[in-house]
Symmetry: C2
């Protein structure tokens, strides 16, 4: 079947990409291990520079580790709010920007910058492609999770150095994203930022030619 896809499949794929949006409102009931495993399997199908596969995944389970990560987010978020004023600050304050207190699964995803796998192929001129490989893998997992009906929320409002220290990660591990995973409270395709008037999608893609 590989390489031969129908128009019906492409339409459903587009539907999934639209439905993919970031989720911050989760139910607290658990996700079965088999479902999570199927999502994580997407990592092994992801592209990586020089086949370096630099992704490292930490499942954050203990109450202490979760509390540290949540406090990290809440402090960074309060600081971010303080950077806005007037109506903008009011809108920001009304946004729910993480589901860390409710999501049953927390994954901290890192890029191992010290890994020798791939022998540096492709990364000499653009070392950032190692981190990019991990982002691609997360994107594939995001789609796989949504195809299971799961919601995923990517939290970037936290101090990555503090998080690495709190989670005692090996040197060379750079945070790519802190991911919340769980069953969404509601079915919705419009992002919170659009609904509450923070920002809207661009009308069309701009392409220049040289």
């Amino acid at each position: 079947m590989q390489g031969r896809y129908t128009a019906a499949f492409r339409a459903e794929l587009q539907d999934l990409m639209q439905w993919r949006r970031d989720v911050r409102r989760f139910r607290t009931d658990p996700v079965e291990a088999a479902v999570l495993d199927r999502c994580l399997a997407a990592f092994s199908l992801a592209p990586s520079v020089g086949l370096s596969e630099p992704w490292r995944i930490l499942r954050v389970e203990s109450a202490a580790a979760r509390a540290a990560a949540t406090a990290n987010f809440e402090e960074a978020n309060a600081k971010a709010l303080a950077g806005y004023s007037g109506e903008r600050a009011q809108t920001y304050a009304g946004l729910k920007l993480s589901g860390m207190r409710e999501a049953p699964i927390h994954l901290a995803v890192f890029c191992d910058e010290d890994s020798a796998k791939g022998s540096g192929l492709g990364a000499a001129t653009m070392p950032q492609t190692r981190a990019f490989s991990v982002v691609s893998a997360v994107t594939l997992m995001w789609l796989a999770a949504r195809a299971e009906g799961l919601g995923l929320g990517w939290v970037s409002i936290l101090d990555p150095v503090r998080l690495a220290r709190d989670l005692a990660t090996p040197p060379g591990w750079e945070l790519i994203g802190y991911l919340c995973l769980g069953w969404p409270q509601a079915d919705d395709t419009k992002p919170e930022l659009e609904k509450l008037g923070w920002e809207s999608r661009a009308a069309h893609l701009i392409m220049e030619t040289r």
Copy 2:
């Protein structure tokens, strides 16, 4: 239909993710504009930090611009080869690492670090999430292209500063990837790097818990 996907769809999605691999051997015949448009539409469905949508796409069309980009790759690739020795150098020399001379479509994809869209939400603590947003968008386009039967090759073996100068991009645009797009010469799911013994896929995903 959104949010409700069948096991059959999930299996086909997994098949697509496997089939997604980087392509460097292209046929030179053109790609219809409508097909390219459907691939590019994936950008508008991608996640972006604070809905900043920082992706900027340059279609590289002129002979002069393509020659500059190709020379950039070929020099960087020769320099990379000089960094390996013995058997490793021999293997590297045998790898085809770009299809720039054959691919009918060249896209240089950038992240606009100066864009105010999204008002910085989510990017204060982790500014690299702007670039990550562009990587996510490219990953979605990659899947959309493969679902059309198209091949995509991501070239990172080039000097991004020189490329930006040669393409006269605005200040603040950081290169994410130079993409070759076209019909693949052959149907294959095994990456060139695996076939020629440069590197192999990890047997399984390692996950730690805290």
